[in-house]
C-alpha cells in the first residue's frame, strides 16, 4: 500500500505539468469559488483553453487514437484532471461532451459519426449537451414524452427538455426521444444527435436558486433530424442511454475530487476566523471543522481506492456508486462549516466588506449537486439493488405499453 505514482505515472505527471506551464498564458485560470467577470468572454476563453489542451494531447486522454484521443489509461486521465485542478484551470467547457456524449457516440456511433463529431468535440469546436430530462420525467427518465416521428430519411422531433446544462452555448446534443408509444416505456425510445442550431430548437436559460444560469429548458418544434444522426437502432435508445449514464458515474466518481469548495479552503478560512471567535464559539466551530474534515478525508481516501482500481485497468467497484452520496454529505458539512465561520457576513450573499461571497455561492450550489446526475435517492436505489442485492420495488410501468391508458 502506498500513495505514490508508479515511475510511469510520475513521468507522465511531470510531462503534463510541464505542458501546462508551457501553455499557461493561453489557458484560463480561476481560484476555487472565484467567478469570471464577463460570461460571454469567458465562454470564448474556455473554448480556447480546451482547444489548446487538446492540441497538447491533454483532452480525451483515454480515448482511442482513431477517435482523436491519446490511447492512454484512465489513470492518466485522472492525473491530467489532478494537474488541471492544481494549475487552477477550471472545468473544461465541453465536460458534458467529454464525460457523457462523446463516450456514447464512441460506443454506438457509426464510423461516419465518429469521423464527423469526435475530433471537433475534443477541441471544443463543438460544445455538446445532454438532452435527457423533461418536465414530467426526471428520475423516471424512461417516462419521457418528447417524440420523434420518422418521415422517410428524416425524423421530426417535438417536445421539451429541461435542466439541460450548457444548452445555451451548445452546438450539438444527444437527444433521447420516444419513437414508439405502443411499446413499454423503455422499449420505445431512440437516441439521436441533434444540431442545436437547427430551425425549431429554442433554448431558454433557467435561472437557478443561486441566481446563475448554467442550465436551460429546450423546446423542439418540428425539428428535422436526418436519419444519419440516429445513434443506435430505433427502439434501442434506453440501452444507448445506459452507456451515457454509466459514463456519467465514472466521470463523476473517477477522480475522488471534492464537490464544491475543498476542505483545504475551509481550513484556510478557519485559520483566519476561528481565533477571532469567543472561546465558547471556538469550541463549536472546531467541532464543525473537525466533522467536515473527517467526512472530506473519508471521501477523499475512498476516492483513492477507486483511483487504485482504475489504475489497475479495472472499472471502479461498487464503492464508486457511493462516491456521490458520501461526497455530497462531505460537501454539505464543509459548506456549512464555512458559512458559519463567516459570522454576520453569512446573512448576505456577499458581505459588505472583505468577504467575496464564495462560501455563500458554494452553499447555494450544493442543493443542485444532490439532484444532478442521478438524485441521491435514485443512487440509493441503485446501490441497494445492485450492490446490496435488495429487491426492487414492484414496477408495473416497466411492462405496460407506454401509451396504454396513461395519457
Amino acid at each position: 500500500m502506498d500513495f505514490d505514482d508508479t515511475p510511469d505515472e510520475a513521468a507522465y505527471r511531470a510531462r503534463v505539468r510541464s505542458l501546462l506551464e508551457e501553455h499557461a498564458a493561453e489557458l484560463v485560470h480561476l481560484d476555487a469559488g472565484e467567478e469570471a467577470a464577463d460570461a460571454a468572454e469567458q465562454q470564448q476563453a474556455l473554448r480556447r483553453t480546451q482547444r489548446v489542451l487538446a492540441d497538447a494531447g491533454l483532452v480525451g486522454v483515454s480515448w482511442a487514437r482513431e477517435h482523436g484521443g491519446q490511447a492512454g489509461t484512465l489513470a492518466q486521465q485522472a492525473i491530467v484532471n489532478q494537474e488541471l485542478a492544481r494549475a487552477r484551470v477550471p472545468t473544461l467547457i465541453n465536460h458534458i461532451g467529454l464525460g457523457m456524449c462523446g463516450p456514447t457516440v464512441v460506443a454506438h456511433g457509426t464510423p461516419e459519426q465518429h469521423e464527423r463529431y469526435l475530433a471537433r468535440l475534443l477541441r471544443a469546436e463543438d460544445v455538446w449537451c445532454q438532452l435527457f430530462s423533461e418536465p414530467a420525467s426526471g428520475s423516471d427518465l424512461a417516462a419521457l414524452r418528447t417524440t420523434a416521428v420518422r418521415h422517410g430519411d428524416e425524423w421530426v422531433v417535438n417536445g421539451q427538455k429541461v435542466w439541460t446544462t450548457l444548452a445555451h452555448v451548445a452546438d450539438h446534443g444527444i437527444l433521447l426521444a420516444r419513437t414508439d408509444g405502443d411499446r413499454p416505456k423503455h422499449a420505445g425510445l431512440t437516441m439521436f444527435i441533434v444540431d442545436m442550431h437547427a430551425p425549431g430548437v429554442t433554448v431558454r436559460p433557467l435561472r437557478q436558486l443561486g441566481g446563475q444560469s448554467d442550465f436551460n429548458e429546450v423546446f423542439f418544434d418540428d425539428v428535422h433530424v436526418p436519419d444519419s444522426d440516429r445513434l443506435g437502432e430505433p427502439g434501442e435508445g434506453w440501452r444507448v442511454a445506459l452507456t451515457t449514464l454509466l459514463n456519467e458515474r465514472v466521470a463523476v466518481g473517477g477522480g475522488g475530487n471534492d464537490l464544491g469548495l475543498s476542505v483545504e479552503s475551509l481550513a484556510a478560512l478557519a485559520v483566519e476566523r476561528v481565533p477571532q471567535l469567543p472561546p465558547e464559539r471556538q469550541v463549536l466551530a472546531r467541532q464543525a471543522l473537525g466533522r467536515a474534515a473527517v467526512a472530506a478525508l473519508a471521501n477523499r481516501y475512498t476516492g483513492y481506492r477507486r483511483y487504485t482500481a482504475i489504475s489497475r485497468g479495472g472499472l471502479p467497484g461498487p464503492e464508486a456508486s457511493a462516491g456521490k452520496l458520501a461526497g455530497t454529505t462531505a460537501a454539505e458539512l464543509v459548506a456549512d462549516a464555512g458559512v458559519r465561520l463567516l459570522g454576520d457576513d453569512a446573512v448576505y450573499g456577499r458581505g459588505p466588506d472583505g468577504d467575496d461571497g464564495r462560501w455563500q455561492r458554494n452553499q447555494a450550489w450544493l442543493p443542485g449537486i444532490a439532484i444532478a446526475g442521478g438524485t441521491n435517492e435514485v443512487l440509493r436505489n441503485i446501490i441497494g439493488e445492485r450492490v446490496l442485492g435488495l429487491p426492487p420495488e414492484p414496477r408495473e410501468d416497466k411492462t405496460a405499453p407506454f401509451n396504454g391508458g396513461r395519457r
Binding site: M1, D2, G290, V294, L297, L325, R380, V387, P391, P394
Partner: protein, 326 residues
Amino acid sequence: MNFELDDDQRAAAAGARDFFTGSASAADARRALEDGPVAPGRSALAGIGFLGITVPEDAGGAGSSVLDLAVVAEQAGAVLAGPSLVTAARAAVLLADHPDLLAALADGSTGYAVLDGSAPAIDALGADAFLALEDGALVLGAGEVTTGRPMDATRGLGSVRLTDRRVLAENAGARWARARDVALVVLAAEDLGAAGRAVQLGVEYAKVRTAFGRQIGSYQAVKHALVDAWVGVEQLRSLVWWAAWAADSAPDELPLAAAAAKAFAAETLERAAGTCIQVHGGIGFTWEHDAHLYWRRAKVDRFVLGDEAEHLDTVAGLVLAGALGR
C-alpha cells in the same frame, strides 16, 4: 498509487474470518453478559498468533504491520470477539524495548491492560499486569480493578488503581502517544467489522421478511437506511486503511488519521447497529436476537479511548495547524 490490500493481506483476512467465526459469535457476547466467558479468550488468540502480530519475531511475534493487524481486527469485530486486539496492539508499542514482556504478551502468559488515568480500561477484567503513564514515565504494575454492570461484557472494562509499579521507561510521552494512536486505529478496525456485520444482518433480514405483500427491503424507507449505513462502512474502511498505513509508513500523518478514524468509527457503528435494530422491528429489540449485541458494542466503543467530540477537536486542531497534506 496503490490503496488496496495486497494478496497476502486478503488471505490473512480470510484466515482470520475462518478463525473468528469458528471461535466467537454474538451468542458468546450474549453469554458473556450472563457471566459466561469472553470468546475466543486470551489463550485462543495467543494460540493463533493474533496477540503478537505486531510483536517482533525475535520476541515471539510475527513482526507484521499495523495494517496487517487492522485486517485481522476487522474480522474480530465482526463477531464481537474478546479480549480486544486493541490491547495487544497498544501494549506491543509500549513494551517495544522489553523482549521478555513482549514475549509474554504474544504467548498470552501475561494479560495486559493499558490505563488512561481512572477511565474504564479495555480488558482490565482478567488482566494480570497494567501499563500506565505516570509523570511522563511508563510504568508496569499490579492493581485493583473495580467495575460496574457491563453494557458490553466482551470489552472487559474496569477502572484500575495500581497497587505496585515499576518504571519501564522515563520520558515515555511520545511512545505513549503513538501507542494510543495505534490503539485508536485498531479500535476503529474492530468497529469497522462490527458495523459491516450489523449492516449485513439487516440486509439479510430485509430480503426475507415480508410485509404488505412484499419483502421489506424493496421499500425505499428500509433500503435507503441500509444503504446509508453501508456507505458509512465503506467510508470508514478507507479511513481505517489510511490510518493503519500511516502508523506503519507515515508517522507524521498518524495523529490526524487515527483521530479521524476513531471519530468516524463511533458514528458509523452507531448508525449501523441502530439501523440493524430498526430494520428487524420488534424482534431486533429482544434479548434473544443478536442486534442488541452490536448496538451494545456501539454504545460502549463510542466512549472508549475518547469520544467523538474529543477526536473531532483533535482533528480540528491538527487541521488548523496545517495537517491536511496529500
